[in-house]
């Protein structure tokens, strides 16, 4: 399969680009929400519009009311979200949550997926325990209780956790904290007794929760996949979220780069456009190269995932690591090349820098994924 969009994908990209650049732009969304002290983390009206265009169900099977498309298509949406820094529950809900629920019982799907597809509900992944992504270590205890389970422990960096209708929670049902197996995934409804949220605003104005589980009881029907065998579904959701965040990062990097090259063509110093200086030209050209390579890695990983290839796992980590590093370079160079105005809140370039940080951290940063590339390669 060639590494460029087919006709349908190109059409989708056209539609989505126009839609998000209009409705999801920085001023009417990110700045408006941030400056209005929004506590929800997204605009429900915009989420509804996503649904009207079918985007909320992009990874949901047609049988479950979605479009049944793949990671290349989801990535098209994410890239534009990234380019416009649109606050959106798309990644946590339509990508990570929907992928996990795709492996759930008909009953669970029926409980949550229609709301997702309709743009009326939001899902959040409650996985990390601590400040860094360590999915191989799960300590949150899930003990059998009656015909269900009792959950005790805490989760951190739960994006959209406070407003989610359900949390996708990874709990320990067997073995010790660092065992790969013995994990069970649960869909925990937001009103379950014993859940405590401490919602905090992050540097990019998104909102994440520290969630505590104090003997939270869920019934057996809340289990996604197999009891003790949740790792298989979790890995699928993680792959979707990682390549999704990589795709969004390429949008963030591309947006920052577009702003920066535009600035190089308008700002004058020493009687010249600063883009005439070779010192800046070479750095811009290097950055262009890195962003192109990151995009190629991302679409390659998306295609491999969509094809169910055994090489997908490795390439997803390559893509997340490469996209993180390239985009990080784009935002750092972006602020530096803007000079003083790059430090002001008025200019958007700083918003790109903030978003890059938060997104790079989600489901494993560049160091995590480079380490994973080494491990998967056998060293």
């Amino acid at each position: 399969m060639p590494l460029y969009f087919n006709e349908d994908q190109a059409m989708l990209a056209d539609t989505v680009t126009g839609f998000i650049a209009g409705e999801g732009a920085i001023k009417p969304q990110l700045r408006r929400l941030r400056d209005g002290n929004d506590t929800r983390g997204y605009d429900p009206a915009l989420w509804k519009q996503f649904a009207e265009m079918g985007l909320t169900g992009i990874l949901v099977s047609e049988a479950d009311g979605g479009l049944g498309l793949g990671h290349v298509e989801a990535g098209i949406v994410l890239r534009e979200i990234g380019r416009n820094l649109t606050p959106s529950p798309f990644l946590s809900t339509a990508v990570v949550g929907a992928t996990a629920l795709g492996h759930a019982s008909e009953d669970l799907k029926g409980r949550y997926l229609p709301g997702v597809v309709a743009g009326e509900s939001v899902l959040a992944l409650a996985l990390d325990e601590g400040a860094k992504h360590r999915p191989e270590r799960i300590a949150l205890k899930a003990e059998r209780a009656g015909n269900g389970f009792r959950l005790s422990g805490r989760k951190d960096f739960v994006i959209h956790g406070a407003t989610a209708d359900a949390l996708i929670v990874a709990g320990r049902t067997a073995g010790s904290d660092s065992d790969a197996e013995g994990i069970t995934l649960f869909a925990v409804p937001k009103d379950a007794a014993g859940i405590g949220h401490n919602a905090v605003r992050l540097v990019d104005s998104s909102i994440a929760s520290h969630v505590t589980f104090d003997r939270v009881e869920v019934d057996g029907g809340a289990v996604i996949g197999e009891v003790d065998g949740g790792r298989a579904v979790l890995d699928k959701a993680l792959a979707a979220g990682r390549i999704g965040s990589a795709a969004e990062l390429t949008g963030v990097g591309g947006g920052a780069f577009a702003m920066t090259t535009a600035y190089l063509k308008t700002r004058k110093q020493f009687g010249k456009l600063i883009g005439e200086f070779q010192a800046l030209q070479h750095r811009a050209a290097h950055l262009y190269s890195e962003l192109e390579i990151a995009e190629a890695a991302v679409i390659k990983a998306q295609q491999l995932l969509d094809a169910g290839s055994s090489r997908a796992d490795l390439m997803v980590s390559v893509a997340k690591a490469k996209a993180s590093r390239a985009t990080n370079l784009a935002v750092r160079e972006g602020v530096q090349m803007h000079g003083g105005v790059g430090m002001t809140d008025e200019f958007d370039i700083g918003l790109y820098m903030k978003r890059d940080r938060a997104l790079a951290e989600f489901l494993g940063d560049a160091n995590y994924h480079a380490d994973r590339v080494a491990t998967l390669s056998g060293y």
Binding site: P2, L3, Y4, H282, A297, H369, V373, G378, Y379
Partner: protein, 387 residues
């Protein structure tokens, strides 16, 4: 089964039956590469058979038209060919500047007669070509070249000197940039083809820091070149030259899955282990870059075949690919320790690690320096002012 699936099955069956086992082992040194040409000595019978079998089916240049010695594959078929070759680790049956550089230029600028004549020779590996571009005073500023062709009616008399002519001492013919109008800088250059045995042509190998001499100085002393041996229009050779440079840069970038740009962490682990966490981290970062660049190479080839790539994109590929390859060999030297320093030992097959490391330093100079590549990206892709 779709047409492409059937095509893949046919190619796979043909390769299984026809690619000799010796030709499925990794290329270890220069000798393993089949360059073709009048004086080429095959290293093995397998190398010869592999070339002959591929020539018979047009597989040395699978995406060239059949009339010119190719197999007439479309982009999707040619990709399948590359994938199936890579699957069994098959060596290219033939490697040559004719295939990578002159061929594409002739396909675009050559007359029908030139295409039939020269392209078939290239496809069959009969003529080995070299490239006469750089001159002592014209490196990055190539367009200032001085080698002059004096108009003598039905022929030119060429005088001058080229440098960095890869394998000029082994080549049969040269494609050469010659000034045919001294008053016009860009539109005063013609693209000429001539036989290296023509009286007045001489070469002198240049010894490099690697100890090898892949490049030569090439001298032209009253060399007669018939007028029919021009590609493109008189004084418009710069257009041909630039087009060809795109292909040269693509070749040097390593796009298309050449093995040297693959990940190396696992290789180092097998050859002695990684006992240092800082080295492991550097290898991991490199592997991320190498695997991402391999995807870029695949994407670039897919896009260029259907005209989706930016015309200046080969400059980006060349820049990134060569910088990556230099880094690869720095890491291999660091990992190899004192063994990698050995210059002549049997264990290192004559100092292969060190010589390869030194050879890669030319990658970001030959075919346009990294600095020139960045200039071109800034100007033609990013459209920055004054570039």
């Amino acid at each position: 089964m779709t047409d492409l699936e059937a095509f893949r099955a046919d190619i796979r069956a043909w390769l299984d039956a026809n690619c000799p086992p010796e030709m499925r082992r990794p290329i270890e040194d220069e000798d393993d590469i089949c360059w073709g040409g009048r004086a080429f000595a095959f290293k093995s019978e397998a190398q010869k058979i592999w070339l002959e079998r591929c020539v018979a089916h047009g597989y040395t240049v699978p995406d060239w038209p059949k009339a010119y010695g190719g197999a007439g594959m479309d982009p999707a078929q040619a990709k399948i060919w590359r994938e199936e070759m890579a699957r069994i680790g098959a060596r290219p049956p033939l490697s040559s500047f004719g295939i990578w550089m002159l061929g594409p230029a002739l396909l675009k600028f050559g007359t029908e007669e030139q295409k039939v004549h020269y392209l078939n020779q290239i496809a069959r590996g009969e003529i080995r070509w070299c490239q006469g571009y750089s001159e002592p005073g014209s490196g990055s500023d190539l367009v200032s070249l001085q080698t002059f062709g004096e108009d003598k009616g039905d022929h030119w008399i060429v005088n001058g000197q080229k440098i960095w002519t890869s394998y000029a001492d082994k080549a049969d013919w040269i494609f050469c940039l010659v000034r045919t109008d001294k008053a016009n800088k860009y539109q005063g250059i013609s693209f000429l083809l001539f036989d290296m045995t023509t009286p007045g042509v001489s070469t002198r190998p240049i010894k490099l820091i690697s100890g090898a001499s892949p490049f030569c100085e090439t001298f032209f002393d009253n060399v007669v070149v018939p007028k029919a041996q021009i590609v493109g229009e008189l004084n418009r050779g710069w257009d041909v030259a630039k087009y060809l440079l795109g292909h040269e840069r693509e070749m040097i970038s390593g796009a298309g899955g050449s093995e040297r740009l693959n990940a190396i962490g696992a290789v180092v682990q097998r050859n002695g282990g990684i006992d240092n966490p800082v080295l492991r981290a550097e290898l991991a970062q490199f592997d991320v870059d190498a695997l991402a660049f391999a995807a870029m190479g695949e994407k670039f080839l897919d896009e260029i075949k259907v005209g989706k790539a930016h015309p200046a994109q080969p400059n980006m590929m060349k820049y990134s690919g060569t910088e990556l390859n230099k880094q690869r060999h720095e890491l291999l030297m660091a990992a190899g320790g004192s063994t990698a320093l050995e210059w002549e030992s049997a264990e290192t097959r004559g100092g292969t690690p060190a010589r390869s490391w030194l050879r890669t330093k030319a990658n970001s100079i030959e075919g346009g320096t990294s600095e020139v590549m960045l200039n071109v990206i800034a100007k033609r892709i990013l459209d920055l002012p004054g570039a």
